[in-house]
Symmetry: C2
Subunit: 199 residues, 2 copies
DNA sequence: GACATCTAGTCGCACTGCAACTAGTTCTGA
DNA sequence: TCAGAACTAGTTGCAGTGCGACTAGATGTC
């Protein structure tokens, strides 16, 4: 059944974690959180996790490998990787890493309609964003410091996220400055005339 | 009916474009493409556009404002903003701009499972990504040059996208270098021991 | 005259996100 | 010691989205 399974971050995470041996659904979720991967893989929605596991099993990328019997907990079905699953993991990783893909995040979309607001309102909003980003950056730094003794590959995604957050913060700060010193501004009238002219 | 409508980049784009007067669905799509906003708002899926317009109308954020009769084309229903729609636009803009939100893009997710691959494979994949990013950056530069005489607010989202693309490219390049000079590497055995130890 | 492209819109499914609900277990502080 | 919080473990349902395919007339192009 080469019913080409559509790739997704969650599917990738499940398959990758099963590389280290059979596991039950809840264990997968716990592992993702334990390793801090919940910052980059959305396992907050447990419903999605269980449904994804079902579909992966249906597509024979994973199979049930028995049940985990622990006195304290109800019976839990464990799953393990198939060869097809191992192959899919590698292919998805290669595709994602080698080829950037526009996922249409909401912030740039909102930016393109900023002209609906006044420059003053924009200053206020961007200042709040700057504060959020500053806090996120600090949190990332402490997380990275805590794991500084681990091999670099373990935290490589945090390095990336940090670089991106830092870049966004820089952009927000420089844009804020231009708005504040008046070198970057706009008004409805001017833009209205422009829109009329381009008809 | 304040059935709080869930915000989305597409809904925001539709509402924002209707600020300049009534328009029919296809006209909205064309406007988005004309202004190059299709880089940040996904209107490639026309089905989504029509469905979104229907839902916006149902929620009274827009209403039909008659039909546009052009000899050459079939009759087209035009839509216009309601006051509720105008308010929603402003609220969404404020929320999105002021508060960063994790949308779980696939690249960082894939990075966190890179350890499945060998450093050599990773070099190859990242090199291909670097090439893509380099091309995207060049395209952005020509687009921005072409619009250099327009007010800055018109292209503000391109400035942002450019800054982010530039930052990602830098990160990829520096990571590639570390991989090539051997200062950043890993092997399954070492990681296997680590995983076993952390059980 | 054939084929491509643009205009304009519809159908349907597979998947995702979000919220709520169940139900047992273990921890924690008044 | 007993209530309530927090964790373990999983299910149900719906609204929203992405993606692909299909229709069908109009216009352009070799």
């Amino acid at each position: 059944m080469t019913t080409t399974f559509r790739r997704s971050p969650l599917a990738l995470a499940i398959l990758s974690l099963l590389e280290n041996g059979p596991l039950h659904p809840y264990g997968i979720q716990r592992l993702i959180k334990q390793w801090g991967k919940d910052q980059v893989v959305n396992v907050g929605q447990r419903a999605s996790l269980y449904r994804m596991i079902d579909r992966l099993a249906e597509a024979d990328l994973i199979t049930t490998s028995g049940t985990d019997r622990d006195e304290r907990y109800p019976e839990r079905t464990t799953y393990e990787l198939t060869d097809a699953g191992r192959a899919a993991t590698r292919q998805w990783l290669a595709e994602i890493v080698s080829t950037p893909r526009n996922e249409f995040p909401e912030f740039p979309a909102a930016l393109s309609f900023l002209l609906m607001l006044t420059p003053e309102t924009t200053i206020d909003l961007l200042a709040r964003r700057r504060d959020h980003l500053t806090r996120q950056l600090a949190d990332l730094d402490t997380a990275m410091l805590a794991a500084a003794r681990l091999p670099r590959i373990i935290m490589i995604e945090d390095e990336y996220v940090r670089a991106m957050t830092r870049a966004e913060l820089s952009w927000v700060e420089s844009t804020l400055e231009a708005l504040r010193d008046g070198s970057f501004t706009w008004d409805q009238e001017e833009l209205g005339r422009l829109a009329a002219a381009s008809q």
